[in-house]
C-alpha cells in the first residue's frame, strides 16, 4: 500500500549479529529503515527482535554478556562511533512491553527527560508535559492530577504515560517493543492512531507479536525467526503472499509460531 514517504535511510543495519555468551540472538542481519516510515518487526519469541532494539541505542553496553558485532548506522553514522552515547539515546524513544511508570508524579515522569537535557523553565516544561500527554491520548484523563504518582495509574494509562515520556525526548526514532501486551484493545487502537499521526515526524520501529497490528501499521515489515532475518518487504505484499520464503506466509497465516 503505502510507499515510504522518503527513501532517506534512518537506520542501516549491516551484518549485525548479537550474542549472549555462546547463544546467538541475531545472526548477520542486513536491512534499512527509512525515515518517516513505520517499520514492523514480527516473529515468535526468541527471534532477536528485542535484542535488535537494544543494539540500536547501545543498551548492550548496560547488559552484561551481550555482545554485538557488525553495525547499525543511525543517520549514516555507526552508533558505536557516537562519542556521547547519552545524546544518542536521548534521540531515540523506547517503549517497553510492560509499562514502566517511574515512581515520580505524572508530571515528573514526562518532565524527566527534558530536565535531564537541561530544560529548567517551568513554563517550557509545562508546555512539553501537556503536549506529550495530549499526543499520547492521556492528557484529558490525568490533567487534574498531574501531581499524583505515575506508577499508580492503570496499566493502559501507564503505557500511554511511557509513550508520552518517550515523546518528551523529541525523538527522531521511536522504538516500540510489543507495546500493546498490557493494554486493552480500545486503548491499543487509540495508541495506533497516535502512531499513524506521529509517523509524519518520527521514524518508528514497531516490534509486534500481533501480525494484524503489523499489517495495520507497518509500511514495511521484517520477519525474524530464531535469530535469522527471514525477509523484509512491503507489509501488504507479504500479507498478499508475495514472499521470497514460504516460512513468512506460514507465520503470517498462523501455521506456526
Amino acid at each position: 500500500m503505502v510507499k515510504p514517504a522518503t527513501q532517506v535511510k534512518k537506520l542501516e543495519v549491516r551484518d549485525l549479529s548479537i550474542r549472549y555468551g555462546d547463544e546467538i540472538a541475531l545472526h548477520s542481519a542486513d536491512f534499512d529503515v527509512y525515515e518517516n516510515e513505520i517499520f514492523g518487526i514480527i516473529g515468535p519469541a526468541n527471534s532477536g527482535k528485542t535484542s535488535f532494539l537494544r543494539a540500536i541505542n547501545r543498551m548492550n553496553e548496560m547488559t552484561p554478556g551481550m555482545n554485538v558485532t557488525g553495525m547499525v548506522k543511525f543517520d549514516g553514522i555507526d552508533v558505536k562511533s557516537w562519542r556521547d552515547v547519552y545524546a544518542l539515546r536521548s534521540r531515540i524513544g523506547v517503549v517497553f512491553p510492560l509499562p514502566v511508570g517511574l515512581p515520580l508524579s505524572i508530571y515528573d515522569n514526562v518532565a524527566l527527560s527534558p530536565r535531564l537535557s537541561g530544560v529548567k523553565s517551568k513554563s517550557e516544561l509545562d508546555d512539553i508535559v501537556e503536549r506529550c500527554l495530549t499526543r499520547a491520548a492521556l492528557f484529558d484523563e490525568v490533567k487534574d492530577r498531574l501531581d499524583s504518582l505515575g506508577s499508580l495509574l492503570s496499566g493502559g494509562q501507564q503505557q500511554r504515560l511511557t509513550i508520552a515520556r518517550a515523546l518528551s525526548q523529541s525523538p527522531e526514532l521511536l522504538l516500540l517493543d510489543e507495546f500493546s501486551i498490557a493494554v486493552d484493545p480500545v486503548t491499543t487502537m487509540r495508541i495506533e492512531d497516535v502512531l499513524k499521526e506521529l509517523k509524519k515526524e518520527v521514524t518508528i520501529v514497531l516490534v509486534s507479536n500481533l501480525v494484524a497490528q503489523a499489517r495495520r501499521l507497518a509500511d514495511r515489515t521484517a520477519f525474524f525467526l530464531g535469530g535469522e532475518l527471514v525477509e523484509v518487504g512491503e507489509t501488504e505484499k507479504l500479507f498478499r503472499g508475495n514472499v521470497q520464503d514460504s516460512r513468512t506466509t506460514d507465520y503470517l497465516e498462523g501455521r506456526f509460531g
Binding site: Y86, F96, L104, L152
Partner: protein, 291 residues
C-alpha cells in the same frame, strides 16, 4: 448432600494448621521474655537513681556518687563521629557495588571481605584501631580514633543494608532512565536513591544501636575511665556510657546498687530514642513509597 463435605483429611489438615500456628506463636512470644525481664529488672533496681543531677553532673567520690553527664556527652560524640565516617563511605561503597561494579572475581572478593569483616570480633577491631588509628595515624587515644574504629566495625552493616535496598529498586526503572539518555549517576540520583532511602536508614539505625553499646573497640582507642572535663574536639579522650557502666559495675568498690542499673537503663533509653527518631523518619519516607 452438599458437595463441600468435610473429609477426615480436611479435618486433620486443619488440626495440624492450628497446632503449627500455636507453636510458632509461642516460640515468637518467648523472644520478648528476655527483653521484658531486662527492662523490668533495670527499672525496678534503678529506682531512686534518676534525678536531674544524675544527668547533669559529673561523677564524684571515685564515681560512687554524682551523675553521668560526661559519659552521656561522650557517647553522643562517639556515635556522631562514627556515623559521619561510616555512612558516607558505606553508602558510596554500596552504590558502587550495586550500581556500577560488574560481576568479576574482584567484586566477589570484595563482597566476601565485607561479610567477613562483619564477623570479626569487636576486640580484634579494637586492637586494629590501636594499631591503625592511635599509633600509625597518630590520632592518639581520642574520640577520632575510637569513632573510626567503630566506623570500620559497623561499615559492613551499612554497606549490606544499603546494597540490599538499592537492589530492591526494580531494574526496569533503571532501564527506562538509561534508555532516555540518563547517565548511571542521574538514574541513581533521581530514581534509585529516593526509593531506597528508607532501607538505607535501617542500616544506619542498626549501626547506631551497635555503636552506642560497644565497649571493647573504644576501651583502648579513646574512652577514658574518668575525666573531670568534657571533650572539646575529636582529638580529646572522652568518657562513654558503655565503658562507664563496665567500670562502675566491676572496677569500683562501694558503688550504690542502683547506680549501675540506672546507667544501663539510660544506655538502653539512648538507643531507643535514637532508633525511634530514625524509625519515625523511615515510616514517614515509606508512606511516600511510590510503587
Amino acid at each position: 448432600m452438599s458437595s463441600f463435605q468435610t473429609t477426615d483429611l480436611n479435618q486433620s489438615n486443619r488440626r495440624k494448621e492450628s497446632l503449627v500456628r500455636i507453636l510458632l506463636g509461642m516460640v515468637t512470644l518467648t523472644l520478648i521474655i528476655p527483653v521484658g525481664i531486662i527492662l523490668v529488672t533495670l527499672i525496678a533496681k534503678s529506682e531512686g537513681t534518676f534525678s536531674w543531677a544524675f544527668f547533669s553532673e559529673f561523677p564524684r567520690n571515685s564515681m560512687t556518687e554524682g551523675g553521668i553527664f560526661p559519659a552521656l556527652v561522650g557517647t553522643l560524640w562517639l556515635v556522631a563521629v562514627a556515623l559521619l565516617a561510616s555512612v558516607p563511605f558505606g553508602v558510596a561503597a554500596a552504590i558502587y557495588l550495586s550500581e556500577y561494579a560488574e560481576d568479576t572475581a574482584l567484586t566477589r572478593a570484595i563482597n566476601l571481605a565485607i561479610i567477613n569483616l562483619a564477623g570479626v570480633p569487636s576486640i580484634v577491631h579494637a586492637l586494629f584501631g590501636v594499631g591503625a588509628f592511635v599509633l600509625f595515624f597518630e590520632f592518639g587515644t581520642s574520640i577520632l580514633a575510637a569513632s573510626l574504629t567503630m566506623a570500620v566495625m559497623t561499615l559492613p552493616v551499612v554497606i549490606v543494608a544499603t546494597r540490599e535496598s538499592l537492589q530492591a529498586v526494580p531494574q526496569p526503572f533503571r532501564e527506562a532512565c538509561w534508555n532516555m539518555g540518563a547517565t548511571r549517576w542521574q538514574t541513581i540520583w533521581r530514581i534509585v536513591l529516593p526509593n531506597s532511602i528508607s532501607g538505607i536508614l535501617t542500616g544506619v539505625i542498626l549501626e547506631v544501636s551497635r555503636t552506642v553499646g560497644e565497649t571493647a573497640p573504644i576501651m583502648f582507642t579513646g574512652a577514658a575511665l574518668f575525666l573531670p572535663f568534657l571533650p572539646t574536639s575529636v582529638y580529646d579522650q572522652t568518657m562513654a556510657m558503655s565503658l562507664h557502666l563496665y567500670v562502675i559495675s566491676t572496677q569500683v568498690p562501694d558503688v550504690p546498687e542502683g547506680l549501675p542499673y540506672g546507667v544501663a537503663l539510660t544506655l538502653i533509653a539512648i538507643v531507643m530514642i535514637l532508633n525511634s527518631v530514625s524509625i519515625g523518619f523511615r515510616t514517614y519516607l515509606r508512606g511516600k513509597k511510590k510503587w
